[in-house]
């Protein structure tokens, strides 16, 4: 039996998975699907024809070298060692490095640049928090073991059980997570900024400034919510794309950061974004220590420039700024807006991925690799930045992302 396996699906990165042969224990349904055997890309392909790895790597390097400004996108579902090579490659070919955050928690990064962030590890949810708020996020469906492992039922040393935690859900609909909650507040879509601001007013003693109704909540409801927050010994707000991707975007996140700053003047409170992929944090962190910024980085002038909206993948593609793309461990064809995908169809695309997906269909070069965390090891960062080493638990004939990227980098430099 192999113990302490890290699940490589969501930002929870649960590290207590055990495998006996093909049978995995402690997996949630999504984790089970991740570890189940799935369709693989059988062999490297160039222009739809099966070729050797050498030929595919040669062609990939050629495309990157010939391009004026290739886009290197993806990264959140591979290991830091591969991401580092990706940043180096983007630098050497004068391209753009961007990662999945740019269509996900980028507003959180932008808000963090304005306000910082008051955070902590998930252990604070488990051990200390007696008030846990889920705002615009739905862990029961998106991070299934989050409530049991960390935030709702976990047995901590100060907060010892579910009964000692007040769980609050704020959302635009009654999500499955809301059924776990002690209190549920239904807000109108797109009203988060106003609701955060009203709460700040009450927390800071300016209740009189709050109108009778804000974002679908009555003043009394707002006051009761503010009181729950203020009465916390140690509170924690988890927030998701409901906050980052509704009207207001990074301004919503700024508002909740400021609310938490204010709450820290009365009690202790922290904030944690519910990050999606298991290593989306790593794809920002590695870029920051290698190039200075987390995403939307352009190297076309020989040094790193950061400009969200300009060097983010979707916008760069829609403007037609990129004349080639390399997609690693991601599927933009399935998730990007139509215009960006159309632009992707016009240019040479290299895909590095274990599984076929929609991007495979428009890729000119396809290089299949081992699945990280199952067939290849490496370092990943959980949603709270805690680093974990994912393991190799099965043998595979596929080379790892790291091996492929090392070879491409070698060819590009020479």
């Amino acid at each position: 039996m192999i113990r302490d396996i890290v699940c490589t699906f969501c930002g929870n990165a649960c590290d207590d998975i055990e495998f006996e042969g093909d049978y995995g224990r402690n997996l949630c349904p999504i984790g089970e699907a991740k570890f189940a055997k799935k369709e693989r890309i059988k062999a490297p392909m160039v222009d739809g024809k099966e070729v050797s790895y050498e030929e595919a790597i040669e062609r990939a390097a050629e495309i990157l070298k010939e391009a004026k400004r290739p886009l290197l996108f993806g990264w959140s579902s591979t290991v830091n060692e591969a991401i580092r090579l990706g940043v180096l490659l983007a630098e050497k070919v004068g391209g753009i490095y961007d990662q999945c955050s740019s269509v996900c928690h980028a507003p959180t990064t932008l808000a963090m640049i304005e306000e910082g962030i008051v955070g902590g590890t998930l252990g604070q949810a488990k051990n200390r928090a007696d008030v846990v708020v889920f705002w615009g996020c739905n862990p029961v469906e998106a991070h299934p073991r989050h409530p049991t492992r960390y935030s709702v039922m976990a047995k901590g040393f100060l907060t010892r059980s579910r009964a000692e935690r007040r769980v609050v859900v704020v959302d635009v609909r009654k999500t499955p997570t809301a059924y776990l909650a002690t209190d549920f507040y239904m807000v109108e879509p797109g009203s988060d900024f106003m609701v955060f601001t009203a709460l700040r007013s009450i927390v800071n003693g300016h209740e009189e400034a709050v109108p009778e109704e804000v974002g679908g909540l009555t003043k009394n409801e707002l006051k009761s919510l503010a009181e729950i927050l203020l009465k916390a010994r140690y509170g924690l707000i988890f927030f998701g794309l409901g906050v980052t991707h509704s009207r207001g975007h990074e301004r919503n996140v700024e508002a909740v950061i400021k609310l938490v700053q204010d709450l820290n003047r009365k009690t202790r409170f922290i904030l944690q974004p519910m990050r999606g992929h298991f290593n989306v944090v790593g794809s920002g962190e590695v870029a920051a220590w290698e190039a200075g910024f987390e995403y939307a980085i352009d190297f076309s002038r020989g040094y790193a420039r950061f400009s969200p909206g300009e060097f983010t993948a979707v916008e760069a593609l829609i403007r037609g700024d990129c004349d080639a793309a390399m997609i690693v461990a991601s599927d933009p064809a399935a998730h990007f807006p139509k215009k960006a995908v159309e632009s992707l169809k016009e240019i040479p695309v290299i895909q590095i991925d274990p599984h076929p997906n929609l991007t495979t269909k428009l890729a000119d070069v396809v290089i299949p690799t081992a699945i990280v965390g199952i067939e290849a090891e490496g370092t990943i960062y959980r949603m709270d930045g805690v680093p974990l080493r994912v393991k190799k638990i099965r043998e595979s004939d596929y080379p790892s992302d790291v091996e492929i990227l090392e070879k491409i980098l070698e060819k590009v430099i020479s």
């Binding site: 050497k92 955070g119 920002g284 200075g292």
Partner: protein, 563 residues
Amino acid sequence: MSVIYIKGGIVVDPTQGIDGEIMDIFVKDGKIVEESGAGKADTVIDAKGMTVVAGGIDIHAHIAGPKINAGRAMRPEDMKYARNKSGPLRCAMGRVLMTCPAIGYEYARMGYTTAIEPATPALYAIHTHEELDSIPMVDKAVLPLFGNWHLTFKFAAEGDIEKMKAFIAWAIERSKGFGVKVVNPGGVEAWKYGRNVHSLDERIPGFEATPAEVLSTLIKASIELNLPHKVHVHCNNLGVPGSAETTAETIKLAEKIGASKDGRESLHITHIQFNAYTGEKWRDMGSGAEELSKLVNRTPVTVDMGQPIFGHTTTMTADGPFEFALHKLFKSKWINKDVEIETGGGIVPITYRAKSPVNAVQWATGLEFGLLVDADKVVISTDYPNGGPFVEYPYIMTLLMSRKFREKEIEEKGVNSYIEKATSLPSLDVERTFYEIVKMTRSTPAKILGLENKGTLKVGADADITIYPFDCRNVSPEDYEVLLKGLRSVAYTIKDGEIVVKDGEIAKEVWGRTFWVNAVKGATQEIIEEDLNEVFRYYTVSRGNYGVREEWIRRPETIAIEE
């Protein structure tokens, strides 16, 4: 590996008492060797008229790990400064905060060859090592944080030195760390309750232990374990008027315990400047450097300066409650991180203004320590990036060597005249000699760290060498401009026997080693098994996934402590 002759240079090496003698130095296979053992030279450096010293050692700079990286992410306005364009070398970014390639290149260009990252949560050690592995040019090591770990509190309350020894050895091994770092003992835990601790004898919330007990047990355990580097402490009450008193009390704890078995000091007070203020309020704050320097000089304690540099920077420390205080003071952006049941931290941008009376006192206080503490006991540092960029070390060296330069800086920068009342700096006529500066940047930090092959040009030492393009015997404090220019533009930096910098430019990118201390043989590990298992019930990672394996590190080098 090649053979290098450094011919006719003016050598300064305090470890051998050499002060400005014309000598030849021979380098082979990364080490300094005798002439007879060198063989034929591959490269001959004509060092006539130049000064040859060992490579510089930074004992305290936050260069890697989750803190500096969060700082980078929060401050693109600081990172957008390009130091080097991509070419044969990496693109290097950042003004005060820097990317990993920039950090390595700038150390080498300054003649520094070793740097210590002084604070990582052991939980994040994998991350910290990943960043250290991305820093080229220098040797490095990292100190894990002990001062707010629940197990530390438990063993301190029980006064159980044996368990503390086992725990230190376990944690250093797991984090591939180098020694024991303590930050605001008890205060970071108290911050998780929205509080702080304000004296050494206050009980830590939720525990029986006091900060004094935490410090004493850790110091005793480190001495008994024979760690090469003893406890490295960021004192309680940092950054507030009255902190000098707490620092004095902390020093007295070490005095009571005594020196290490090998006669070296048993406690290192880091960035002492930030912990050396007298007064009760900001309005009457002053420098406690004179008194504290006297105390340091007669006790088994060493210090580094933590010199602030006027201008903007980003503060970052495990001292969570202090960063919250800064956030409230400046209304600035603020990162906080509470880390499981072991530590925490915070990040806040700051600007040191010469015209601010408080910042002026801080600036003067740092320099007072640099001038008043024995050169065998004080190391130059800015507590990068808290006081400012490490690239300003040549500026600090020049300030310490020239009173005229200090006077010029006070005049030109318009340093607030409050320093005349609150510090002794304006009246100090001490001028450090070049020999003393070499101590404070080479032999003293090497001694404090217990790195015998560093900070020296003895035969057998690592061939980490700086060659300055001036004759140290001929520079006078009057010509501070010549001095500053010379210290800023290194003629050669040699790392492990290879020329890595020539005429101030990177000649070759190399990768240094990461030192870590294996002391598990020095303590019975079994006695803490149950405690560890109990504590891991409250972690969110399993014990099996906690820590770093040696094979994950680029160039690890173990320093094994035998019983």
